[in-house]
């Protein structure tokens, strides 16, 4: 057993160093691990040692000479004892084996003698041993993902432990503001998810990974573009209509950061602080909820390597299908004839399109050309190494992914690296450092306007199949201003290169057992380099884009956070107190620099220096804001039965004028665990936990421009005088000298139930979230002449329910679980500015949800001429024939229908772009070596239209979708219930600027977001190798969707300007641990 000690040779030269540090050094150089009880052994005496290539015994003999310390070596473990004192307690040796619930040995389990720093870790066979241990001692066994156990030694000499996997529930510890807390002791409303549930998804960003995992959190991914694959988050609905926005505050390991600057594989847990009592400790930034991300940390023991890789392929979920060229020609003729013009294509020409023999009459699908041009291949690789000694633990991870878009030259890739290091400098002094960096690149092809891929997409959507594709001699079709194929094949591009770096150091000192003081410094740095290159290229033999140019933008953001916290925890009999006080200072800086040149000698050179200086320009700007805060918390519980908590934060922000700079954000919560009451236990003994909660609190939102209270004369308002571009200045925005933050008050009632032997968990919350003094950019007449800064006015209410239900069980070898999340939010504007009832331009109407669509109401289509004549005067002179949309006369100047449909009296609310409900269902099961998981996710109640001009037939002479062609109204088939009115040539964007409910559709959907099947190699195979776990899996994302939304359009999209289809993703991957 002593083979290692007999062979391992070490060199060590230290002078006048504490023994504890010398031991640490030995641990660093070797696999030896020292165990000792500081209360008995004086490890802080200083010694000098000088050895070269010595065995451990020789070194230790030298080290412990004249110290009164002796040692015994057991393989790699070295136990220190003292010769000086004679212990009155009886000492004995205890050995044992730790196994998991299936009886397999568990290596790496931490075993500690309670109340001491004596401890060990189980070896590869799950075995541990202690010598000289008191009968009164209690051993604590802990392992990540397993429920911790404590066993009193007593007379036993062999203690074998079977660790149970931790069920969701009572002992779970969750992250809360500036700390952690046992879930049972929470009185606020916190959603939490751990890495185990999250690791199933094959996604590249943390925000998309969280979709469907947290109640009360609505996450929507807006685009399938690899370049912008992050998703938007809303916690408990849209709380405000201000420019301050609805983004929750994201805290990573205690420091404000951004969610997508965390590798999803590094996430240990995510907590969402939904109610005001949980979030108030973050004060003026917390109104939209707070998301706390904790990254993984190291563990004690041998290094554990985890490798996770997958490869997969994206295909579009939905893509609008366009008509063939001859159908387009017919539709176009029809559209012309419907407005009284003559047809454009002769029957002979239409026949030519059909026969396809004449190259001037093609049937070329421009959408297919674009969306089939990319490989859609994504691969992602991560390695994670965890390990450490009893004093220091490390977690190192490195990740890489590469995502090739559905279109060529469109891709994103990222490299990231993290090191989390936790060290006990002394027994009462903990130090941890987290260092993270990533490098993220994306690129896309661009058009001659330099507006990027969206321009190409719009072109492909617009070009009818009657326009041919690229020719053999390298030329392209050119229709009006557009030529998507020429653009995508050109050397024009937009490239972004993002660098993110964050460091975070935390020192915490336990002054006494109960009192801890903690200092933390965090620094985030993000730099973005954007390159926008327009190449020269031939489009047609007659037309060439003859000027190339490059714009380079450099932006950087850097934030510094410094905070200090003092915590006092005390338990007196059944009274437990947790007190916390803190102070923090934050500074946010931003800089921007931009340069432009043109006339590059060729398209291969795309560095700014290569361009000509004649038209060179440059520009730049900078801004800064600061925040200072004091905060505190009092938490008290009696016997884990009655729970109380008070939080307060006092914030000062440089964004507001001196008088309005400081704000107080208090909150309070109470909870009662009835299940701890004897009477309750008697009535409902099977109820493991039954807790009622109530909370109230106030939060702020200060995300307005950096200097809203100061009149600013903007520079750069230049105009050429002579040949000089003369500097100019003008006021472009009107200051608001009274501005302050907006305030959100949340009242929350909740109920937590755990039953069926901790297998079933149920949580429900009801909340009323009201935001006042909204930083409202009221719609002001253009006659003001400048844009006003926000005013504190208006209020919005969200009332809603969050439900979470989960069940986990095992039947023999079959382990399974299911969870349902359902959230309901009713959003309503309560008040605007003064007695203003509506702000049409911003979609704000008292009594209705934020962002409501406002427009005309329709009553189907006009059936015939009689129908037209019976109808009120229609609002658009050129519409109002059989087959056109029949606009309804709702009201008039006297409050009753006046026979005229006008924009003033006959528009109303016709759509709501926010979902009312979000829901998901997670199912997972495991049988022997197979595992499976399914996740369904969806949204309900959103009613929206497609805000993209090319959705509408022949808009701006563009293409026609197949479903429109197939189900439109025609003179031959005058169906008054047709899905699309008579096609006619309407002005560009007509239906976008004159909205009508005819085009508003229910976007409710449910989709199979993720399905995964895995197989792990059995232990009997693994036992012959160094491998601990090998799992293969196949996974699919967005596999199918049920919806009544428009054919060809994903119901999840909302920003159609930058439309890019969502993708189905099929992947195969492997997890290896060793």
């Amino acid at each position: 057993l002593d083979a290692y000690a007999q062979s391992k040779r070490l060199s060590l030269t230290v002078k006048n160093e504490t023994i504890v540090n010398i031991l640490e050094e030995i641990e660093n150089q070797s696999e030896f691990h020292f165990m000792f009880d500081v209360s008995r052994i004086d490890v802080y005496q200083r010694k000098s040692v000088s050895c070269k290539n010595q065995l451990i015994r020789n070194i230790l003999d030298q080290l412990f000479e004249d110290t009164g310390i002796t040692y015994s070596i057991n393989d790699r473990q070295v136990l220190l004892t003292t010769t000086g004192k004679i212990d009155v307690e009886q000492q004995k040796t205890v050995t044992g084996k730790v196994t998991d619930s299936g009886g397999q040995p568990l290596p790496g389990v931490t075993v500690v003698v309670k109340g001491s720093t004596t401890g060990t870790v189980t070896n590869a066979d799950g075995e541990y041993s202690f010598t000289n241990i008191s009968e009164n001692a209690t051993l604590q066994f802990s392992f990540v993902g397993m429920r911790a156990q404590e066993i009193v030694v007593g007379s036993q000499t062999s203690i074998n432990v079977r660790m149970e996997e931790e069920s969701i529930g009572l002992d779970e510890v969750v992250a809360v503001g500036y700390g952690t807390m046992k879930r049972v002791n929470l009185s606020g409303s916190v959603s939490n998810v751990g890495s185990k549930q999250l690791e199933k998804r094959t996604v590249t960003t943390t925000s998309s990974m969280l979709q469907g995992q947290l109640s009360g959190v609505s996450i929507r991914s807006l685009s399938g573009n690899p370049k912008s694959s992050s998703a938007t988050l809303l916690v408990r609905g849209q709380g405000t209509f201000s420019g301050a926005g609805n983004s929750p505050l994201v805290i990573v390991d205690g420091i404000e950061s951004s969610m997508d600057n965390v590798n999803p594989h590094d996430v240990e847990s995510v907590s969402v602080l939904k109610d005001a009592s949980s979030a108030a400790i973050y004060g003026s930034k917390a109104a939209n909820g707070v998301i706390l991300i904790t990254t993984k940390t190291g563990l004690t023991g041998e290094p554990v390597f985890s490798i996770n890789s997958y490869f997969g392929k994206h295909t579009p979920t939905y893509i609008p299908e366009m008509v063939n060229s001859w159908e387009y020609a017919m539709a176009y003729n029809e559209a012309l004839m419907n407005i009284g013009a003559s047809p454009r294509w002769t029957a002979e020409e239409i026949q030519k399109f059909k026969s396809g023999t004449d190259p001037n009459y093609p049937n070329f699908n421009h959408m297919d050309y674009i969306w089939d041009s990319g490989s859609g291949i994504e691969s992602k690789h991560n390695i994670n190494i965890k390990g450490g000694t009893f004093r220091s633990q490390y977690m190192f991870s490195a990740g890489y992914y590469d995502n090739q878009g559905l279109a060529m030259k469109n891709s994103a890739n990222r490299y990231d690296m993290r090191l989390n290091l936790d060290t006990k400098l002394r027994d009462n002094l903990k130090f941890n450092v987290k260092i993270y960096g990533d490098k993220y690149y994306d690129k896309e092809p661009s058009s001659r306007n330099g507006t990027g891929f969206s321009d190409i997409v719009r072109g492909a959507l617009r070009l009818p199949n009657t326009i041919p594709g690229p020719t053999e001699d390298g030329y392209y079709p050119y229709y009006e201003t557009i030529h998507p194929e020429a653009d995508i094949n050109s050397k024009s591009f937009i490239k972004n290169s993002n660098t993110f770096f964050s460091t975070n150091a935390n020192l915490s000192w336990n002054i006494t057992k109960d009192l801890e003081i903690n200092g933390q410094v965090g620094y985030n740095y993000r730099a973005l380099e954007n390159k926008n290159y327009i190449a020269t290229y031939d489009v047609t033999p007659n037309f060439r884009n003859s000027l190339n140019s490059l714009r380079v933008d450099w932006l950087n953001w850097n934030d510094l956070t410094m905070q200090s916290i003092i915590k006092y925890n005390k338990t007196l009999n059944k009274h437990a107190f947790h007190l916390l006080g803190g102070v923090s200072c934050q500074s946010y800086n931003h800089q921007y620099l931009s340069a432009f040149r043109d006339q590059f000698p060729n398209n291969e050179l795309s560095e700014i220096d290569a361009g000509a200086t004649a038209h060179a320009t440059n520009s730049g700007s900078a801004s800064r804001y600061k925040l200072t805060s004091l905060f505190g918390r009092v938490n008290y519980n009696f016997n884990e039965r009655y729970l109380f908590e008070l939080n307060v934060r006092y914030d000062g922000s440089s964004r507001f004028p001196k008088e309005n700079r400081w704000g107080v954000f208090p909150s309070a919560s109470i909870a009662w665990r009835l299940s701890q009451e004897n009477f309750f236990k008697n009535i409902l003994p099977w109820m493991n936990n039954f807790k009622m909660r109530a909370s109230w609190g106030s939060l702020g939102n200060q995300s307005v421009g950096n200097y809203p209270y100061q009149y600013m004369i903007s520079l750069g308002q230049n105009y050429p005088f002579g040949n000089e571009y003369s500097a100019g200045a003008a006021i472009t925005s009107v200051a608001n000298k009274e501005i302050s933050w907006e305030t959100t008050r949340i009242t929350n009632f909740g109920l937590d139930i755990t039953t069926l032997n901790n297998k079933l968990n149920f949580t429900v919350d009801y909340y009323v979230k009201k935001t006042d003094d909204i930083l409202y950019n009221i719609s002001v007449s253009d006659m003001l002449g400048a844009s006003p800064n926000a005013t504190n006015a208006g209020s919005v209410e969200n009332r809603g329910w969050d439900f979470e239900l989960s069940y986990n069980n095992a039947i023999g070898d079959f382990v399974y679980g299911a969870s349902v999340i359902y959230s309901l939010t009713h959003n309503k504007v309560l008040e605007l500015y003064g007695d203003l009832e509506k702000d049409i331009a911003r979609g704000l109407f008292v009594g209705h949800p934020i962002g409501s669509t406002y427009g005309y109401v329709s009553d189907g289509l006009f059936v015939d001429q009689d129908d037209v004549e019976m109808a009120p005067t229609q609002p658009f002179g050129f519409l109002g024939e059989p087959g056109d949309i029949k606009f309804v006369d709702l009201s008039g100047p006297n409050g009753v229908p006046d026979g005229v449909v006008s924009s003033t009296y006959d528009r109303t609310i016709i759509g709501q772009p926010l979902p009312i409900s979000t829901y998901s269902l997670n199912l997972n099961g495991k049988y022997k070596n197979f595992d499976i998981s399914l996740m369904f996710q969806g949204e309900g109640g959103r009613k929206d239209m497609i805000s993209m001009s090319h959705f509408y037939a022949i808009d701006n002479l563009g293409n026609v979708q197949k479903w429109i062609y197939n189900s439109r109204w025609t003179a031959e088939n005058p169906n008054p219930n047709a899905d699309y009115p008579k096609i006619r040539i309407v002005p560009t964007d007509f239906y976008l600027s004159n909205k009508v409910d005819f085009f508003v559709k229910d976007a409710t959907f449910i989709r199979l977001k993720n399905a995964q099947i895995g197989y792990s190699l059995p232990d009997r195979v693994l036992n012959k190798t160094f491998l601990k776990r090998v799992r293969f899996y196949v996974s699919g994302e967005n596999l199918f969707t049920l919806t009544n939304f428009y054919k060809g359009w994903d119901p999840e999209i909302s920003n159609q300007i930058l439309w890019y289809p969502h993708s189905k993703f099929y992947a195969a991957g492997i997890n290896i641990d060793f």
Binding site: L715, A730, S903
Partner: protein, 520 residues
């Protein structure tokens, strides 16, 4: 800690430290010049629509939709709201300037001059607003939010009187000429010329005539011997130009001249389509109309015309541009493109530069608003309409100078009978200013012929000599336009009120008290 939270803007000037020196005043002056309604450099559809709100051109979509239900609807952004917004933004900057300029200590003469420039800029916006929307709220001070949301429309006469007064006042302190390094800044003649336009709209003929005479007597401007070059970068320093946007490549580029009008086959957008009636308005080079001249050959209708004909237009299967013959026939499939519906076969050439090789949206071409030619023709018209005796000398000093410039060199006008001369002047304006910013739009309205000329069938190029047996495209079967392409029929679609833009719906949504224009 509170001081730690005092943050000042890092890249803008705080108001407290502004308005102290001459350089501050000059910064604010340039700010007032930037992106007002005569200095915009990206005018996109606005110019096209306004040109198509005349009988000279058909916007491509007006062939199939109709500009009145298209861009000229209250909810429109591109034209209806953007002109309005730009005007009031400039008015705000000017009001703010005029309320603060007295705080600056600087040379009084200079101060008076820049004050006059800003007053011109403000008055020009009201001139333009009243032309486009009719009566609008007249705002001459910086407003608060609630003031801005409760404005009502002022009387049209009050707005015009205000403008006329302001232009008069400003012209006193504006210089007649400027050194090269002040090109782009307003000249005395500009202020008088816009005043003259307003007086002509108001039919105050004698005041108009004396205003224009004042410009002529300044002797600061000339009729340039060149014509086509005036609209290209090479001619932008001409003494004929009185008011223009001073565009500069890259820094303040003209985003439209080299893209919007050119035929698609040369990489342009071909967005405006000149009508056959405009084509026919150009005289033969003997000074006679196509009906009267013996030089006119229907088989070769483009031969022997006024040289301005070729400078202004792309003519199908006739114009050679960049070495290639321009093709405009509607069934053209060269490069796979069919001519746009509503296309007439003709295109505007005036602002395009042959063999241009710069950035398409990035040319340095100035945008011309007022030329000395207008002063001369307007002077003549004012004299005529005032009932003054028109002599050959007057004709020679005015219209004959304009059409006699070296590059044009059309025969002199000798007609002095008022009715005939009126037609000659009107035709001369149509041809000379063809497609220049809103001149035709203003003219057909003040001449009272707007409804008449707009409610017509729009014809394009001639497609056939045998219309009875021609079926490919709709063509006129009888009359003067026999065999010509029937591009679009506007007959009966233009009703009174449509000569004005609607008040933006955005404004009415905020302030329902703001009355909408008739017909919208």
């Amino acid at each position: 800690c509170n001081n730690w939270l005092d943050e000042q803007p890092l890249s803008a000037i705080s108001e407290a430290s502004f308005w102290t020196s001459e350089s501050d005043a000059m910064l604010a002056l340039a700010g007032c010049y930037r992106q007002n309604n005569f200095t915009i450099n990206s005018y996109n559809n606005e110019h096209l629509i306004l040109t198509s709100n005349t009988d000279d051109s058909n916007y491509k979509e007006s062939a199939t939709g109709d500009i009145y239900t298209g861009y000229m609807r209250p909810s429109d952004w591109e034209v209806v709201r953007s002109i309005w917004l730009r005007a009031y933004k400039t008015i705000f900057k000017a009001n703010y300037f005029l309320e603060n300029i007295d705080r600056v200590e600087m040379d009084d003469v200079k101060k008076a001059e820049i004050t006059a420039e800003v007053r011109f800029i403000r008055a020009y916006e009201y001139f333009y607003l009243s032309l486009m929307y009719g009566d609008v709220p007249l705002i001459t001070k910086v407003l608060t939010i609630s003031d801005a949301n409760t404005q009502s429309r002022s009387l049209l006469e009050d707005i015009r009187d205000f403008c006329i007064d302001e232009f008069s006042t400003a012209s006193v302190d504006l210089p007649a000429t400027r050194p090269d390094d002040e090109k782009g800044r307003i000249l005395k003649a500009a202020s008088l010329a816009v005043k003259g336009r307003l007086l002509m709209i108001e039919k105050r003929w004698s005041e108009a005539a004396s205003t224009y005479k004042e410009i002529i007597d300044m002797n600061a401007h000339i009729i340039d011997p060149r014509y086509k070059a005036l609209f290209e970068e090479s001619g932008e320093n001409s003494k004929e130009i009185i008011l223009s946007t001073n565009c500069m490549t890259s820094l303040y580029p003209n985003a439209n001249n080299q893209t919007n009008y050119k035929p698609q086959m040369y990489g342009g957008y071909q967005e405006c389509n000149p009508t056959q009636r405009l084509i026919d308005a150009f005289l033969m080079n003997d000074g006679l109309s196509i009906e009267e001249s013996s030089l006119y050959d229907p088989e070769h209708p483009f031969d022997n015309r006024d040289p301005r004909f070729y400078a202004n237009l792309f003519l199908p299967e006739y114009t050679v541009w960049e070495g290639k013959l321009y093709l405009g026939h509607p069934d053209l499939t060269s490069d796979g493109i069919k001519t746009m519906p509503g296309g007439t076969g003709y295109c505007f050439k005036k602002f395009a530069t042959e063999f241009y090789d710069g950035g398409l949206h990035n040319s340095g071409d100035d945008i011309i608003y007022i030329r000395y030619a207008e002063v001369l023709l307007s002077y003549l018209e004012s004299k005529l309409e005032n009932g003054d005796n028109v002599t050959q000398e007057l004709l020679d000093q005015t219209i004959n100078k304009v059409r006699g410039r070296e590059e044009v060199n059309m025969p002199s006008v000798t007609e002095t009978s008022p009715d005939k001369l009126r037609e000659i002047i009107r035709r001369e304006r149509r041809v000379e200013f063809c497609f220049e910013r809103h001149i035709r739009y203003m003219d057909i309205r003040r001449w009272g012929i707007y409804l008449e000329v707009m409610n017509r069938q729009i014809y394009g190029m001639k497609l056939t000599d045998d219309p009875d047996n021609y079926t490919d495209y709709p063509v006129e079967k009888v009359g003067k336009y026999r065999g010509h392409y029937k591009a679009f029929d506007k007959t009966g679609t233009i009703t009174p009120g449509m000569e004005l833009l609607p008040i933006p719906l955005y404004e009415i949504d905020i302030n329902p008290e703001l009355r909408q224009n008739t017909g919208y």
